[in-house]
Amino acid sequence: MGKKLLAALGQTLLVLLVVSVVSFGFLKLAPGDPVALMLGSDYSRESYDKLYADLGLDRPLPAQYLQWLGRFVQGDWGTSYVSHQDIFQQAVLQALPVTLALAALSLALALAVGIPLGVLAAVRRNSWLDMAASAVAVGGNAFPSFYLGVVLIWIFGVSLGWFPTMGFVAPWQDLGAGLWHLALPAVTLGAWYVGLIAAVTRSSLLEVLEQPYMAAARARGEPGWRVIWVHGMRNVLMPLVTVIGLQLGGMLRGAVMTEVVFTLPGLGMMITSAVQGREYIVVQAGIMITALLFIVVNFLVDQTYAVLDPRLRQHGR
């Protein structure tokens, strides 16, 4: 077992390496002179040369890459040209928690709505409830989140005044206000997932509903809800985890839109602002951190897989 874990880690490391090369390449491809950009409007020949050497631009490309990588791993991600702020601090300490909070709440909401919906659809298969649930599923998945967000702001934020229309309050500092501010964004982002979760729940449940062990449980006199939720859900867990993991890219994309529409200072907003302002060094940090997030979550999902499904442990992948 330990060997499998190590192999998985090794693979992950390699993928991380590829990601780092792509990110490094991105900054290299970006137009403009990075030294001039960093120094601002006005500088002397010697400060230019000094920064040039410091950035390692006089060395061959592979050496530059290694230097950049070394610094990156230590948390030295550079300083933004515009704000003169440390990018690591901005990305990881300020922006990342916001995006994580949004993602977590959205996922929780999507699960809270999607799973019961899926169960309902499975249990009342082919009834109008099933159709309705299907419709919600399809609708949520297709509705563009940027449009949904705009609509929600104006209906629930302005017209009804039930929720704030923008801004972020950290839930860990003020739970009530934090959740209240994240409510509309979480609905916007979560809507995309509800359909998926409902569909997966429904189909996985359908697979096992007629199985002998379920009938046995019913025969034993277990109440209906226990049969579904305890025995049936076991079969849903794995596909659910798979789907969530696989769709993580979609969630990050949705987070970009949601953060822009609701003015949340998360990673999505940071990257969008940086792209709009052509602040390549921040964009680079942004793509690195989103890729890192993705890889880490995938790795965790894979390991969860192994834990959940004993069959996989023996056969390996």
């Binding site: 839109m257 792209v275 890192l292």
Partner: protein, 291 residues
């Protein structure tokens, strides 16, 4: 196995069976109808549109739906219905062209990886994993940041971000087909690699790949509109649904149809595409539940 016998049958008969299975799926029919409606609207836009999409008319700006302007006008007095039709063109073009590009790249990579096997496959797949780690929207945004805005760049950007997902799918399918007995047999018999690929592998991976491609079109359209919404896609005054929604934000209380109409159109097209793709998948192999 069903797939094998399907392969053995003549292609025409297979298509007919597919057609029947497809029609049996209500979802697919509905989805197809919606998609076709948009495709026709896009194709015949120049004839269907009552006004040129960029013709400004200030006297009529920000009017709601009326006899003269079926879906109202925007803040420049441009007819929304006409812009919707032309917007369908750019949306569908982005969707299909970027998927086609991604497909081409992905198939090439995936085939290479799947056929070679061994070390080079392993290495290639790690590269693909690396590419896959970047969310498509963010990769497209980074591309636009470097290479500039515009419809063609949107297509390239999205195409590039699709290479990874397709490569992975193609490779998995290639591996599956490669291991089948008759392919092994063909190889043992000394049939040249090229023929094996052409006659056995490609046709067998075609359907699952095309289904995946179909499902990806809706994502491509969503991403393309998203890029325009963020101001990182096409340039005004190009009629584009994402751009229209973005512009409509500034007028949402006085003229909600400016964002509303393109938003609903986009949602409808995406729903249609999704339903059709799902129906297609269910029709071809109802037992298949992976994506």
């Amino acid at each position: 196995m069903a797939a094998d016998s399907a392969f053995a049958a003549a292609p025409a008969g297979r298509l007919a069976r597919l057609g029947r299975q497809l029609l049996g799926q209500r979802k697919a029919v509905f989805g197809l109808a919606v998609v076709l409606a948009f495709v026709l609207a896009a194709l015949f836009a120049p004839w269907l549109a009552p006004y040129p999409p960029t013709e400004q008319n200030f006297a009529d700006a920000m009017q709601g739906p009326s006899a003269a302007h079926w879906l109202g006008t925007d803040s420049f007095g441009q007819d929304i219905y006409s812009r919707l039709l032309y917007g369908a063109r750019s949306a569908l073009w982005v969707g299909f062209a970027s998927v086609a590009l991604g497909l081409a790249g992905g198939v090439a990579l995936g085939l290479l990886a799947g056929l070679r096997g061994g070390r080079s496959e392993w290495a290639l797949m790690r590269v693909v994993d690396g590419l896959l780690a970047f969310p498509e929207l963010i990769m497209a945004m980074a591309f636009m940041a470097i290479f500039g805005l515009g419809l063609s760049n949107v297509v390239y950007a999205l195409g590039l971000s699709f290479v990874g997902p397709f490569a992975r799918m193609v490779r998995a399918d290639v591996l599956q087909v490669k291991s089948r007995p008759y392919v092994e047999a063909a190889r043992l018999m000394g049939v040249p690699e090229r023929d094996i690929v052409a006659r056995h592998i490609l046709p067998n991976i075609a359907s699952p790949i095309l289904i995946q491609a179909g499902m990806r079109v809706s994502i491509a359209i969503l991403l393309g509109s998203g890029l325009s919404f963020l101001g990182l896609g096409v340039v005004p005054p190009t009629p584009d649904w994402g751009l229209m929604i973005s512009e409509g934000r500034g007028f949402i209380t006085m003229a909600p149809w400016m964002s509303g109409v393109p938003g609903l159109a986009l949602a409808l097209l995406l729903v249609g595409l999704n339903l059709f793709a799902e129906g297609l998948r269910d029709a071809l192999d109802p037992r298949l539940r992976k994506d």
